[in-house]
């Protein structure tokens, strides 16, 4: 003999479990997609900002004939651009390299590297286990023709 009340109770307990599994799976998929979206929205803007920082760094470096002043304004420009894009300049590596003796028509190269951390992104570890380095490099020529610079 089957105990009818016990069977009915068991069946009633299992009702809705399919819904729960579907809802959980759906939630997992949504969180995963959200993670992808957040990951993309964190990395892409940083790529643009790092390139802008390298561009500004290079442009400022090429404006001075004095190496010390050129370097100082190049670093300052890169840091200011990163900060204005809400990126921490302390996490960036800014390298300014004169290709030869600093002077008119010589080349100077700026490289900015920034690390984006996947921490805080849902399932961030799926896309990147370590920090993602973003790098941009520009080269320019120190102004060759400006003839009446009062100060270098």
């Amino acid at each position: 003999m089957v105990d009818r009340p016990a069977l009915g109770s068991r069946l009633r307990d299992e009702r809705g479990q399919g819904h729960t599994v579907t809802a959980l799976t759906l939630m997992l998929v949504i969180v995963l997609l959200l993670g992808i979206a957040l990951f993309v929205t964190k990395v892409r803007p940083a790529q643009v900002s790092v390139a802008a920082a390298a561009r500004d760094c290079t442009r400022q470096a090429g404006l001075s004939l004095d190496p010390a002043r050129g370097l100082a304004q190049a670093y300052a420009a890169a840091e200011a651009t990163l900060a204005s894009a809400h990126l921490d300049p302390a996490r960036a590596t800014i390298t300014v390299t004169p290709l030869g003796a600093w002077g008119r028509a010589t080349e100077v190269r700026c490289e900015v590297t920034y690390s984006v951390s996947p921490a805080g992104i849902p399932f961030g570890w799926l896309f990147a286990r370590e920090e993602i380095p973003i790098q941009a490099t520009y080269t320019t020529v120190v102004e060759p023709w400006k003839s009446r610079w009062g100060t270098p």
Partner: protein, 149 residues
């Protein structure tokens, strides 16, 4: 009763199965469009830098003799080199010319094309790359009186 129980939740499953490819497609599209946007901005930066350097490659003798702004032959090479250095060969120089946007005020006009790989669009519509145009303008430095001064 039994039939109703077995079918319960199936509409939700169907909905998920229908929505999932749409969601994935949207994510893929967002990734590709993001890549295109970033590549275009970086290409524009590179074009700005390239035109600034190309405009420094003036033909000094032409200016001294005829007071005419003429580019030296190396200007094109400089511009292409800068584009290549900054974007890893993704931007191709298509035009570099002196134009006169205002009377008697010359400017150097650069046009380039950036090619962006789009893996999702390749899978979706068979388009592996997207080409976007960038333009930049540079004004030659004035006040040059003699070579190197």
């Amino acid at each position: 009763m039994k039939k109703r129980k077995n079918e319960s939740g199936q509409s939700l499953v169907v909905m998920v199965l229908l929505l999932l490819p749409v969601l994935l497609a949207l994510i893929g599209l967002a990734c590709d469009l993001g890549a295109i946007a970033v590549a275009q901005v970086r290409a524009q930066d590179a074009a700005d830098m390239a035109v600034q350097d190309a405009v420094k490659a003036l033909d000094v003798q032409a200016y001294l003799v005829r007071q005419e702004i003429v580019l030296s032959p190396e200007a094109v090479a400089v511009a292409q080199r800068r584009l290549t250095e900054a974007t890893g060969d993704r931007v191709r120089l298509t035009q570099l010319a002196i134009i006169y946007p205002q009377a008697r005020q010359p400017a150097l006009y650069l046009v380039g094309e950036v090619t962006v790989e789009t893996p999702f669009l390749r899978w979706l519509i068979g388009r592996p790359t997207v080409v976007r145009q960038v333009q930049a303008l540079g004004v030659p430095a004035y006040g040059l009186e003699s070579a190197g001064d």
